[in-house]
């Protein structure tokens, strides 16, 4: 329901630092449903996201807040879904690059925001926005692949930071980041494949986030979305035994779980029966449903639609989770522009602690 864009009672105060996420979750859901976005709404979103952009670069959870990699990822994705000149022009690429440098750590990782926490989500957010907007340089992601690799553990999946339990969300972020950086082959792909296929629940058909935990509709994307990534990775490595029709998970069972267990009769999707709907689950259940319906790429495409033809969703790009046409269009637009020169006053060197103004995002209290 597009009215959700303007005011929706379910949006609680707790999402006040995640408003670009709301834009992305809703826009992506609509694009999967092939619901057109009226030009006026698109323009309003652009102007709102422009107010979420920090003067020092990157996007914040709301106007006046500090920049943070998660809303930055969401904002860039939302703008690419809109895909108009106005949308692309919102992004200050030079400042965005400054922001990415400001959160880069010497060990290759990124903090989520200045003075914030490190985990593998940040590498994905950074790689996603940098590649889409063509501000990616090898130096920016120096040592990032090796840091991400340290997140792969004895289970075969990836944890949030090295040492932690393998988890679907973090595994997706780490793997997709490596794909963007062209380094996915450095992972133990076979171990990762075994781990992720084992996360599909034999009774429910949906995916769990971690071994021995419960199914959750959102993992329909974070986990199932890994299979297209791995398929491509194996293909690039010369694997000859890959299927030409199916991903290596039970596509029908996932569709059944989502359609039969994850829908709210009044609209929207959810974690599992008994839970309330929200835009996050709507986005990721639909994204997972799309993955389960569409095999292949532009050249080779095989569909498996459970139920009525109306159940068919638009395909989604397994790296960025926006529609592939929007990815292509954004890349095309931004690659016409020159890569900005980075102003590399990055890291924990400068103004710190009591003397640094709190209002700026420049104070670097986080030790590397």
């Amino acid at each position: 329901d597009r009215k959700a864009f303007v005011v929706y009672p379910q949006m609680c105060d707790c999402l006040d630092a995640s408003r670009p996420w709301l834009c992305y979750w809703i826009l992506h859901s609509l694009e999967l449903l092939e619901e057109p976005i009226p030009a006026a709404v698109a323009s309003d979103v652009c102007q709102f996201l422009a107010r979420c952009q920090s003067p020092t670069g990157g996007f914040a959870g709301g106007p006046g807040q500090h920049a943070h990699l998660a809303p930055t990822y969401a904002a860039v994705n939302a703008l690419c879904i809109i895909g108009t000149e106005e949308a692309y022009n919102v992004i200050d690429r030079e400042k965005l690059l400054d922001f990415l440098w400001s959160v880069k750590q010497p060990d290759g990782s990124f903090v989520m925001h200045v003075g914030g926490e490190v985990d593998v989500r940040s590498a994905y957010c950074a790689a996603s926005v940098a590649s889409l907007t063509n501000i990616l340089t090898p130096k920016l992601f120096e040592d990032t692949p090796s840091w991400i690799l340290r997140c792969q553990n004895w289970e075969g999946g990836l944890g949030g930071v090295p040492g932690l339990e393998a988890h679907g969300g973090y595994t997706f972020c780490g793997t997709a980041a490596l794909v963007i950086l062209g380094k996915e082959h450095m992972l133990d792909l076979k171990a990762l494949l075994r781990w992720v296929v084992s996360r599909q629940m034999r009774f429910e058909g949906g995916f769990q986030g971690r071994c021995n935990k419960l199914v959750d509709g959102c993992y329909s994307f974070w986990q199932a979305g890994l299979l297209p990534l791995l398929h491509r990775a194996f293909f690039k490595e010369g694997e000859s035994q890959l299927s030409r029709q199916r991903w290596m998970f039970e596509q029908q069972a996932l569709q059944e779980y989502i359609l039969l267990c994850c829908q709210n009769p009044a609209g929207g999707l959810l974690d599992k029966p008994g839970k309330s709907r929200d835009f996050y689950h709507t986005c990721y259940c639909l994204s997972g449903l799309s993955i389960a319906q569409h095999f292949g790429n532009v050249d080779l495409h095989h569909e498996l639609i459970l139920g009525k033809e109306e159940n068919r969703l638009a395909p989604t790009h397994p790296v960025y989770n926006i529609c592939p046409e929007k990815v292509a269009q954004a890349l095309q637009h931004f690659h016409q522009l020159p890569v900005p020169e980075a102003d590399q006053r990055h890291g924990a060197s400068s103004a710190d602690g009591p003397s640094a103004p709190a209002a700026s995002s420049g104070s670097a209290e986080h030790q590397s």
């Binding site: 834009c23 339990e165 199916r246 998970f249």
Partner: protein, 368 residues
Amino acid sequence: ATMSGLEETSNESSELKEDNDFDVEVEGHVEVDYASDPFRLYMFYRDRKEWADLEPVPQDDGPNPVVKIAYSEKFSDVYDYFRALLKKDERSDRAFALTAEAIELNAANYTVWHYRRVLLQALQKDLREEMRYITDIIEEQPKNYQVWHHRRMVVEWLNDPSEELEFIADILSQDAKNYHAWQHRQWVIQEYKLWDNELEFVEKLLEEDVRNNSVWNQRHFVISHTTGYSSPAILDREVQYCLNQIRKAPHNESAWNYLKGILQDRGMSSHPGLLEQVLELKETHCSPYLLAFLVDCYEDALENNNQKETLNRALEVCEYLAQEKDTIRKEYWLFLQRSLESRFGPSAASGEPLADGTEPPAGQQELS
């Protein structure tokens, strides 16, 4: 812990709403909410004399806001004043007190947390008291990124981890799989070298729930950072521990994954007698995990010594898993089957010169 860290929060918040609209007298019309503020003790900041010098800053959503949140009056009031303080970069006790209110209204607002940390340092606040504060907040909201990061900063500033293991144990007693809690625990242990009693802690938790995958992960974390798995004594102890747990709970995937996890780099078939023990267990304690482990043993054996009989057994188990015992992973088991056939089957041997340039024998070696 999810991508945005929010999906659990947004589910729970609708049930936890406590801050309703308070009594407001506007032109004689009074909105009463006795449940929340029966004695009208709460006063908006805009009405407080001590704040009269500060001009509140309303949120700048722009003329056509999207994803509008229906803020309560209390929320708007507090955040209007927070924005005012941020703009001034005011470093005062009243600012510090207000951050606590802003946090209570939205603990995910990382901009507020950052500001609170700046104030903690600028005002030289009592960090012991801050520890008590953050302890309470985490107990209330244990699935939030910002609260754990804040605690980590305070512990670092105090350079005192002495409360951490007990505190985290308490959080884990309420949710033994809380990802943030384990992350914080691993950080504390590694940073302050608190390894000594952790294996004991792991064993206790595994006794409480042998299926807790987070605890198995912690087991791996502790051992790999202390004794390591290289010594035969340790490896054997761990293998025996796994097999004992498997006998007690044969369908516990965590135990099987751990067994594979500790052997895979050393060679599954290298551990003497293990294959035989597993084949024995197959009769009375069979599971899809046992069968998968068998495939892995056979694959490892094939890598060292390609035997037709071993390959046949491996292919047979794959078929059994795909068609009967683990059908949800059919696509995967069939792929693995094809892959093994391709790598180790007769077609792999015939016509292809060996690494030393010679031709292989016409058929494969029979088992002696």
